[in-house]
């Protein structure tokens, strides 16, 4: 005991303790008054290519049933009718109360500018870079959005979970944490590690952030639910406080085979995630929230040979939250008939994921159109506002 005290004294005398964290932006006191806006934005990246045609099923389109074969859905197969033309996959049933409350909507037949190669990995990179082409841009659009507004702190935006969220990469400070992470070692050890890593800025900063976030994270253990539920709880907790933005991933959408089984599991996770966010956000924060779930591309309009679908183009955005104009399927429906498909195989995209996202950010955070079209999504033409927000 005595020896450890004297060792600390020695470290303090040597000026080794307490020299590094002061420089971390995370220990700067958080001023709520300085937070640039009061609304909340949640971005969920659905990795693997969600089949929008199976989530919001265009059973009213005369070509739909034949193209889809055994995957064809609609009210007759247990799907939930939305508006007499589109029906919601039954695995999304837990979201019907949200739909009825006007807090859930969909934007159909949208895509990024990505075409032809249909690679998950390039598709996701482009979705998160927010550019028109893969031009080597290293930061993400949500980070560039943070760079354009004053008053952003390192706690304004959270990247949650284990997956790297490229859309939040960049010059603006962002908090990265996972609900099951903890830094459970003595403060002496943490200080020595900070000393040892001082020559390595990236490692040093990650360690310092881990220390701060570990101390301020609520105990997330227990309460049940899968990893996605834990992530949603954590995001809801932070968004109920000073955070304004959270982003995370949901995987499992690459349904090449036996899609009926696997997409149901993925949609269950998405539904549980949205229900958890709504249930766990405190006060009136949910009423000020827009959730945007987006994917790198849709899938083939036709069923493939293994009761699944292959990589496609036009897809679907899922929108939720009290700030969303709910109860509608938005978008310009391109049809599925002869000549309507993109390259005779995919749902034809009629809108740009980035444009709709830009309009939502404009409404939530008051960004002007020029900033959105030049800094956040360089080269984008936002076009007309589809009126996705209340």
């Amino acid at each position: 005991m005595a020896s450890s005290v004297s060792r600390r004294d020695f470290l303090a005398r040597a000026g080794i303790i307490g020299c590094s964290l002061a420089a971390s932006p995370l220990v700067t006191p958080i001023s709520l008054a300085a937070t640039p806006w009061d609304t909340r934005l949640v971005v969920i990246i659905l990795r693997g290519g969600m089949d929008g045609l199976d989530v919001v099923q265009p059973y009213g389109d005369p070509a739909y049933a034949k193209l889809r074969g055994r995957l064809a859905g609609g009210p007759e197969t247990g799907s939930l009718d939305l508006d007499g033309y589109f029906a919601l996959h039954p695995a999304m049933a837990p979201l019907m109360p949200m739909w009825q409350a006007g807090q859930l909507s969909f934007m159909h037949a949208v895509s990024t500018p990505y075409r032809d190669k249909r690679s998950h990995f390039d598709g996701q990179d482009l979705l998160e870079a927010g550019t028109a082409t893969l031009d080597g841009t290293r930061d993400g659009w949500l980070n560039r959005m943070l760079q354009t507004v004053p008053g952003v702190t390192a706690q304004t935006a959270y990247s949650v979970g284990r997956s790297d969220m490229r859309l939040l990469r960049g010059a603006a400070e962002v908090a990265n944490w996972a609900p099951d992470a903890e830094l459970n070692v003595s403060s002496q050890a943490v200080r020595l590690m900070e000393l040892v890593t001082e020559s390595d800025p990236a490692l040093h900063a990650a360690l310092a952030e881990a220390r701060v976030l570990s101390e301020m994270s609520p105990e997330m253990g227990g309460g049940g639910g899968g990893n996605h539920v834990q992530i949603a709880k954590f995001a809801a907790e932070r968004l109920s406080e000073e955070a304004r933005i959270a982003a995370f991933s949901l995987n499992g959408w690459d349904t090449h085979q036996n899609q009926d089984r696997f997409i149901g599991q993925a949609l269950n996770r998405l539904a549980e995630t949205l229900v958890t966010l709504r249930g766990k956000m405190r006060g009136n924060t949910w009423s000020k929230t827009a959730v945007i779930a987006m994917t790198e591309f849709g899938r083939t309009a036709r069923q493939n040979g293994t009761r699944g679908t292959d990589h496609g183009t036009g897809g679907l955005m899922v929108l939720a939250g009290g700030a969303i104009r709910g109860g509608q399927v938005f978008g310009q429906w391109p049809g599925l008939g002869d000549g309507d498909l993109f390259q005779d195989r995919d749902l034809m995209p009629t809108g740009d994921v980035r444009a709709h996202t830009a309009w939502i950010m404009r409404g939530l955070a008051g960004l002007d159109r020029t900033t959105l079209e030049t800094s956040v999504f360089p080269g984008l033409d936002m076009g007309a506002d589809a009126g996705l927000l209340l």
Binding site: R47, A189, L192, V196, E198, D200, E209, A210, G305, Q343
Partner: protein, 463 residues
């Protein structure tokens, strides 16, 4: 100018320094080791996929018994037996994890272990459900390990046509829409193509996503691949009745109908010889072994050697090891979690009996669960592109916190007694240990924290 450094050779091209295994004396010794006998594989054996298939057959037999005897005691017994078989495979999978780690701890040719891991990642494959989820190590043992010192085209064929890959990328049931099989099934149960494997072969395994291929090449290659399938009893199998009739054209080359896999093999060989493949593989090797932002001259040299030798991998490795950039580039590459753990075990020289009696629960606690928290679950990458190489993906607060927890608590469970921390810093870091690390190792409150601090040092985590 530094052209070779034994310690850097172990750190950059192996699994770090060991207190019990001497580093290689030269690049020639590293290359000789690769062509010499694979003694460490014999010392720490892992089941082959051929052996693993017997488990698959046994599970299928139980399934058939259940089907024929629904609702009876026989079916219940078969169900119980199937669950036992699944559990045995799960327990054995943790055993193979231990064997993989021990190969990395005791090998004198650590470069081979790194190459096996590199190519296993390039050809990522895993079972999606049931028993085959445990088959990744056996797949690596059969389809990757024996081929890492040969020609790329042979490695490509072994991996792409392996049952686990055919299962993982949905090739198994891809049927030509105009095949005999599709006609037989009739209108109500139509068969059809699945283009997943064809796309990933072009995008990930050969040309790279920047390569000169189009959707039509993907579709034609998928048609050419029809017939490649497998079953548990025989392994790889070619189904003539799955073939899409007609000539398929991939990258301008026409492949006529065949009644065997010869045309699929021909297309794979042509893809292996393609200049875009040479460039793609040269880039990946340079990034993996040297830097996220490699010296362009190194990439050019690897590419040229690949093309000159028709994809002779030993010649490509020789170019890599002989290039000045291999030795002069600063150590910036950040070890991925599995390599972080492997090299910690090598620095600790954990006994070769460490995993012999570990119950499944302990293997989960010490390895499987921490690796998930560090972001790299064992043999479960997110997609067929394997693990990302970019350092920022791994230097996250949550990932680093999880490394700290592992580094400070697990080593003491794996060795009879933790080493003296100052000696450990020297053994683990060699000439890369600096005064700060030595000071911190001596100043920590406990041995376990001191060991953890050395493992968390930049000199240990970067190579």
């Amino acid at each position: 100018m530094r052209r070779f450094d034994p310690q850097l050779a172990e750190i950059r091209f192996g699994y770090g320094l060991s207190p019990v295994v001497a580093p290689p004396r030269s690049t020639a010794a590293m290359l000789d080791g690769l062509v010499g006998p694979d003694t460490v594989a014999d010392r720490f054996p892992i089941e082959t996929f051929v052996q693993f298939r017997a488990r698959m057959v046994a599970v299928e037999e139980q399934r058939d018994i259940r089907k024929k005897n629904r609702g009876t005691d026989l079916a219940a017994a078969a169900r119980k037996r199937r669950n036992e078989l699944n559990k045995e495979a799960r327990v054995d999978m943790f055993g193979w994890l231990g064997q993989t780690m021990l190969r990395r701890v005791y090998t004198e040719t650590a470069f081979r272990e790194r190459l096996v891991a590199f190519w296993a990642d390039h050809f990522t494959a895993m079972g999606k459900r049931g028993l085959v989820r445990r088959a990744t190590s056996p797949y690596i043992e059969d389809a990757i390990r024996p081929f890492v010192t040969g020609r790329f085209e042979d490695l490509l064929q072994a991996a792409v046509m392996h049952p686990l890959m055919l299962d993982y990328l949905d090739q198994r049931l891809s049927i030509g829409p105009n095949s005999v099989r599709a006609e037989k099934r009739g209108r109500n149960k139509p068969g059809g193509l699945n283009e997943n494997l064809a796309r990933e072969v072009l995008e990930l395994h050969t040309l790279g996503v920047g390569g000169p291929y189009s959707q039509s090449d993907v579709t034609e290659l998928a048609e050419l691949f029809t017939g490649l399938t497998f079953d548990a009893r025989n392994g790889f199998k070619f189904r003539k009745d799955f073939i899409e009739p007609g000539t398929e054209t991939v990258l301008g080359v026409a492949y006529p109908d065949a009644h065997n896999a010869s045309q699929a093999r021909a297309a794979l060989n042509d893809l292996a010889a393609h200049p875009s493949t040479a460039r793609h593989l040269a880039w990946k090797l340079a990034v993996h072994f040297v830097s996220d932002d490699p010296d362009p001259d190194l990439v050019d040299a690897l590419e040229a050697q690949y093309l000159d030798t028709g994809g002779a991998l030993m010649a490509v490795y020789e170019t890599l090891l002989e290039h000045p950039a291999a030795w002069q580039t600063p150590s910036t590459n950040f070890k991925l979690p599995i390599d972080f753990v492997s090299s910690a075990l090598r620095a600790l020289a954990v006994p070769d009996t460490t995993f012999a009696d570990q119950p499944e629960k302990a293997m989960r606690r010490m390895f499987a669960a921490p690796l998930i928290r560090m972001g790299q679950p064992w043999e479960r990458p997110l997609g067929p592109d394997g693990w990302p190489e970019e350092d920022p993906e791994w230097i996250t607060p949550q990932g680093i916190a999880s490394r700290v927890s592992w580094a400070m608590s697990v080593p003491e469970q794996l060795v009879p007694a933790l080493p003296d921390p100052r000696a450990f810093a020297q053994a683990a870091l060699g000439g890369f240990a600096d005064d700060t690390v030595r000071f911190a190792a001596a100043a920590a409150e406990s041995k376990s924290e001191a060991i953890g601090i050395v493992l968390m040092s930049p000199a240990f985590q970067r190579r």
